[in-house]
């Protein structure tokens, strides 16, 4: 498969040509296994519409945005330290390469916020899956610096590509591939096993109520508003 084929496969000429070379070759290698999916390139913005800058992303605050579809929630985290790339191993023996943090300190990461176990996700009413900063360990598992889902206590490691630390999830959280260009941040694709099909299958009624139709919920975005999760969610449920 040459670069041209790859671009055709993804059907997103503009997006792929903007990716940096390193990531591009990585993604190309992974495309064979279907581990990387490029989507519309989307600018991360603040609630006032201006581009989100690195200084806006405070360490250990749980931010939410929606990508690549209008209704698919993701978490953005500044982990306060340089996060190196990692090889993410799956339970079935497969693996994929994850690029690590972005930003000047390589400390910024993003993941799909749909639990890879049974798809609990942050809604405007509540979020059962949340980030637990280093100074706020989970009451049940006593772990900190993790993403934990209270539905059945799946634990994920945001420092290691969202891989599973403990609990019932079979897959890591899918990562949102971020790219920094001239001080702005873009989401460009999804790496790992996304759970979008299950998400749209399972929440038809809820998504219709919230977005008017499933088609609207599925629309691809080219801009993502980033906000603190407790500004979006009424009750952040920790356990």
């Amino acid at each position: 498969m040459d670069r041209r084929d790859f671009i055709k496969t993804c059907g997103t000429v503009a997006v792929v040509s903007m990716l940096n070379r390193d990531f591009f070759s990585q993604a190309l290698a992974q495309q064979k296994d279907g581990m990387f999916q490029a989507y519309k390139k989307a600018l991360l913005v603040k609630q006032d519409g201006s581009p989100l800058k690195e200084e806006d992303i405070k360490p250990h605050v749980n931010y939410i945005f929606f990508y690549p579809h209008t209704a698919t929630p993701c978490y953005l985290l500044n982990l306060g330290e340089s996060i190196p790339p990692a090889e993410i191993k799956l339970k079935d023996g497969k693996s994929y390469k994850w690029g690590g943090g972005v930003g000047s300190k390589k400390s910024i990461v993003a993941y799909s916020a749909i639990c890879a176990h049974q798809w609990s996700y942050p809604t405007p009413q509540y979020s059962f899956i949340n980030y637990y900063p280093p100074d706020t360990p989970s009451e049940t598992t006593k772990k900190a610096g993790i993403i934990q889902c209270c539905a059945h206590l799946a634990l994920y490691d945001p420092k290691a590509g969202g891989s599973v630390i403990d609990g019932p999830a079979e897959f890591p959280l899918a990562s949102i591939v971020l790219q920094e260009e001239g001080g702005n941040f873009y989401a460009v694709g999804v790496l790992g096993k996304d759970q979008f099909q299950q998400f749209f299958d399972n929440y038809r009624t809820e998504l219709r109520q919230q977005y008017g139709s499933t088609a609207k919920a599925r629309e691809l975005v080219d801009k993502c508003i980033v906000m603190e999760v407790d500004k979006y969610v009424q009750a952040v449920v920790r356990c």
Partner: protein, 439 residues
């Protein structure tokens, strides 16, 4: 000529023949022997799953996900799924019945397995046949997931009349359906007096269920301003699991309504005079929720796969490999869910779901001729301990396997401090796991 003994053996109903009067069984066996095939013989690999509860439903879906070419047939006697989990909050009207009921057709159509609404009446392991009321089905692999049965004879011996009166008038409501509806009617109509909840002895379905139930019954009494008490008769020395969380709810939320009586093993029950005699004293009651000891469901007895203790007596629970869930006596049979014995796993829906995924992987690998090293299941269990405001507690248990000692050790984590956040998580636990089984 086929003898009566042969007939019983070949119909796989020997175990029943010993436990009840043999004449009707002989007739049933004769009927089974005359039965014809209900389906053509399997073309490739056919897995027949008996029991569409938490465990069986999970095996069916995940087998098809592992390999869509496997022919999967799920046989379930009930036309609609009714959930025991969340049935306690439902008793106190915290959720509606629609939260508990689900249709079997959605997953069957989506994942492409056959849902057969029928009752399994016999199993012939040597011929690999399962008999339903309409005929037999040949299998390559058989999964038995029938849940529990009640063992009234542990209390009443052969006196079926006493067992019948106790079951009909004071239903255990550990097997979902009419018993749950009856229990709800009883507590909502209760005017005054003592309402007794009997915690079953030995291993039983859902260890925290009777304590959660006590809270929810007390919730209804509190709301209805009933002059009454909920008396929990427990053969154990103390409440477990989540003891401190339940005790705090009994003493703080339902003080004067719930009375907890430990070390109360049942000596005698008189369902007519409404008296229960226990090792902790005698109790007269106005109404009650009485659960006898539990055992593995009928089908495991029928298949003659019940474990024996050192003296050769049946333990009441299935005899399966602790890691693969394969029957020790038969590599073509797998046992899953509440039926299993010899492992430190609680009998819970979450467990059944978690084990079901492992069993699906083991069978699919075996069909593919591959070795699969099974992982261990896990369990998360929320209990609603207050209805106004809704508050819950939680326990999560993961397990570790020591290869050398061949021992599985539980690693529990508990939050005994009740909270509204955990009550919300209780429903999310259920919604998520229903999603997993049904959509």
């Amino acid at each position: 000529m086929i003898t009566r003994r042969d007939l019983l053996k070949s119909a796989g109903v020997g175990a029943i023949a010993l436990s009840v009067s043999s004449q009707p069984v002989f007739a049933a066996a004769e009927r089974v022997v005359k039965m014809e095939a209900l389906m053509p013989p399997p073309k490739g690999n056919r897995v027949v799953i008996c029991g569409g509860g938490w465990a069986g439903l999970t095996v069916a879906k995940y087998l098809k996900k592992e390999n869509p070419n496997i022919e999967v047939i799920l046989i379930e006697q009930k036309p609609v799924f009714f959930s025991c989990p969340i049935s306690n909050p439902w008793l106190a009207d915290l959720v509606g019945l629609d939260f508990l009921q689900h249709d079997y057709l959605q997953p069957a159509s989506k994942y492409g397995y056959t849902f057969m609404n029928d009752r399994v009446i016999a199993i012939e392991r040597d011929k690999r046949r399962v008999y339903t009321t309409r005929g037999y089905i040949q299998y390559d692999y058989l999964v038995l997931a029938p849940g529990i049965r009640y063992n009234y004879s542990a209390w009443f011996g052969d006196n079926r009349e006493l067992a019948r009166l106790t079951k009909v008038n004071f239903p255990p409501a550990y097997i979902p359906g009419s018993e749950h509806l009856a229990l709800k009617r009883k507590i909502h109509e209760f005017e005054e007096g003592d309402f007794i909840i009997v915690v079953p002895p030995g291993a039983y379905r859902c260890p925290p269920a009777p304590y959660e139930r006590a809270c929810m019954v007390a919730e209804v009494f509190k709301r209805n301003k009933v002059k009454g008490r909920v008396i929990v008769l427990d053969p154990k020395e103390d409440i477990a699991p989540k003891g401190p969380g339940f005790r705090a709810a009994f003493e703080q939320v339902y003080l004067g309504i719930i009375e907890y009586v430990p070390k109360a093993s049942i000596k005698e029950i008189d369902p007519v005079k409404k008296v229960i005699k226990t090792t902790a004293g005698d109790f007269k009651f106005t109404d009650a929720n009485i659960s006898p000891p539990h055992q593995a469901g009928e089908l495991v007895w029928m298949a003659d796969l019940i474990a024996k203790d050192k003296e050769g007596k049946p333990t009441g629970w299935a005899d399966q490999d602790p890691l693969t869930f394969q029957a020790k006596a038969d590599p073509h049979v797998f046992l899953v869910g509440d039926v299993i014995g010899g492992v430190p796993y609680p009998k819970s829906g979450h467990m059944g779901n978690s084990q079901g995924k492992i069993v699906a992987k083991v069978i699919a690998s075996r069909i593919a001729g591959k070795e699969y090293k099974p992982t261990l299941p896990d369990n998360t269990c929320y209990s609603m301990v207050n209805g106004s405001p809704q508050e819950a507690i939680v326990i999560n248990v993961t397990y570790e396997y020591n290869e050398k000692e061949k021992k599985i050790t539980p690693k529990p984590k508990t939050i005994n401090e009740r909270s509204e956040a955990l009550a919300k998580a209780t429903y999310e636990w259920a919604r998520a796991i229903y999603r997993d089984m049904f959509s």
